[in-house]
């Protein structure tokens, strides 16, 4: 199975979401790939709220084993979370642990009305009861490899990289 085209997946994901969002819906990208996807979806869906970005490092469940990630960035949600319809956006959904961390962080900003999850790729291997609301495709990378989103000249593309987990 060949690697899917990220730009085509992005267009498909936007079409899935379009009937379900209002201009007041806010996207929240998960660092780093999810932030790129959220920025692109924001433009394609014509949302009024600027997209937010979460770095879930302070909420990860492997902090005790691995310590704090080296390149932790600031989270920023440039809108009021209270009572809002939010869509978490990530590039690849795998174990579900990042989504759990993101939900925990989100609720420290306020109580949203509804939270959904949009991903470009569901690669299986879930370790938590997490399911995407919107998903462009399912794709299993070959053994020992993981699929990684990159951004070059404002275009998104997918690559395979050795899985170091």
């Amino acid at each position: 199975m060949s690697l899917p085209d990220a730009e085509a997946l992005l267009a498909g994901l936007a079409e899935q979401m379009r009937p379900h969002v209002t201009p007041d819906t806010a996207l929240v990208g998960l660092h780093t790939g999810g932030v790129w996807v959220a920025q692109r979806l924001h433009a394609q869906l014509g949302l009024t709220q600027p997209p937010g970005a979460l770095d879930v490092s302070f909420y990860r469940d492997d902090y005790a084993q691995r310590g704090l990630a080296r390149d932790t960035r600031s989270s920023s949600l440039p809108f009021d979370v209270e009572g809002r319809h939010l869509v978490l956006v990530d590039d690849v959904l795998h174990t579900g642990r990042t989504v759990r961390a993101a939900l925990n962080e989100l609720f420290d900003y306020g109580r949203p009305q509804r939270v959904e999850l949009a991903v470009l790729i569901d690669r299986g291997g879930r370790q938590l009861p997490v399911a995407p609301t919107y998903c462009a495709t399912r794709y299993m990378p070959p053994d020992g490899q993981r699929v990684k989103l990159a951004q070059e000249d404002d275009r998104l593309l997918l690559r395979l990289a050795p899985d170091t987990e």
């Binding site: 302070f58 909420y59 902090y63 005790a64 691995r66 704090l68 932790t72 600031s74 925990n104 420290d108």
Partner: protein, 322 residues
């Protein structure tokens, strides 16, 4: 060469004892890590769960309201349980040794000690003792020891300077006041030279300068007006009142005249120069109120940044132990 006692075998922070010998990339990583922690204070819930279930003991053998409070806030914003030991009423007054106190607290499942002590080297002694007895999962943060070091103050000053000035390698920085007795000055000097500040000046009367100040990388100025010329950053030090008793200084008034930071002296620095002070300030002794409350002072932001920097240090120490 002996291993740096602050770093583990992977080169990561194990204890924070001094800024001396702390590699540049470790300092930079602490400052970088503090940035996202600064944002936590802006949120509805000003807490993250990193140190949930961990016990941080504030061991203050010397009084300090501000430093203890900011460490306490930092630990609580990391969700740690914080135990403040009031040493004035503790067992050390009944004759218990420092290491016996540490052993007892370690037996209460302490995960981190934040230590302030009047004797230089006390936090190092504790760290060494913990490692020698196989308890290297317990971390030590120096919150000020004797005349030796006050690393989190030095690091929060670096964070403050970087916040306003960005690039250390272009800066002229003056440290003004009682450098001889100041652990803050020592921590600042080591951090500033490691970060590549090309022009570091020490401004003080001869009686308040350590003899090896030039070896530390400072140019000495006994005339404050000369020393402040065109600097980007002015770091004031607190003049401790007890220095006034002996023969080091004639009087507070006289000190203020020659080494107090006034608006007319500050005018010799660059127009966009910032003024730092570790607090608590002696207005009218080392700093004039017009400067302390003026547009160039960043003294209150220092306090706010200090919490983020202490969160970063504790979060870097507290993870990756399993």
């Amino acid at each position: 060469m002996a291993r740096n006692p602050q770093l583990n075998k992977h080169g990561e922070l194990q204890h924070l004892l001094t800024t001396e010998g702390l590699p540049r990339d470790v300092i930079t990583r602490i400052l970088d890590t503090a940035e996202p922690f600064a944002g936590v204070a802006e949120r509805e819930v000003k807490k993250v769960p990193l140190l949930r279930g961990k016990s941080v003991f504030n061991l203050f053998f010397e009084n300090s309201t501000r430093t203890r409070t900011t460490f306490e806030i930092a630990a609580k914003r990391l969700s740690a349980d914080v135990i403040n030991l009031n040493i004035a009423t503790s067992s050390t007054n009944k004759g218990e040794t420092l290491l016996d106190t540490v052993d007892n607290l370690a037996a209460m499942q302490a995960d981190m000690f934040v230590v302030r002590h009047a004797s230089s080297g006390a936090p190092y002694l504790i760290a060494q003792h913990l490692e020698a007895t196989g308890r290297d999962h317990i971390h030590v943060v120096n919150a000020g020891d004797g005349r030796h070091a006050h690393p989190t103050q030095g690091l929060l000053d670096m964070y403050t300077i970087r916040h306003y000035k960005r690039d250390f390698t272009q800066l002229s920085v003056a440290i003004v006041g009682d450098i001889l007795h100041s652990r803050v000055a020592r921590s600042q000097i080591h951090a500033l030279t490691t970060l590549g500040v090309p022009d570091l000046r020490a401004i003080a009367p001869k009686t308040l300068l350590p003899h090896d100040i030039e070896r530390l990388g400072c140019r000495v100025f006994n005339d404050m007006r000369e020393g402040l010329r065109d600097v980007d950053v002015v770091m004031m030090l607190r003049l401790q009142n007890e220095r006034m008793q002996g023969s080091l200084l004639p009087s507070a008034q006289e000190y203020f005249k020659f080494f107090g930071l006034t608006e007319d002296k500050l005018a010799l620095a660059r127009p966009d120069a910032i003024v730092l002070h570790p607090g608590p300030m002696n207005r009218g002794v080392e700093i004039d109120s017009a400067v302390a409350d003026g547009r160039q002072a960043v003294i209150l932001p220092q306090v706010t940044f200090g919490i983020a920097v202490r969160m970063a240090v504790m979060a870097m120490l507290g993870g990756g132990n399993a």
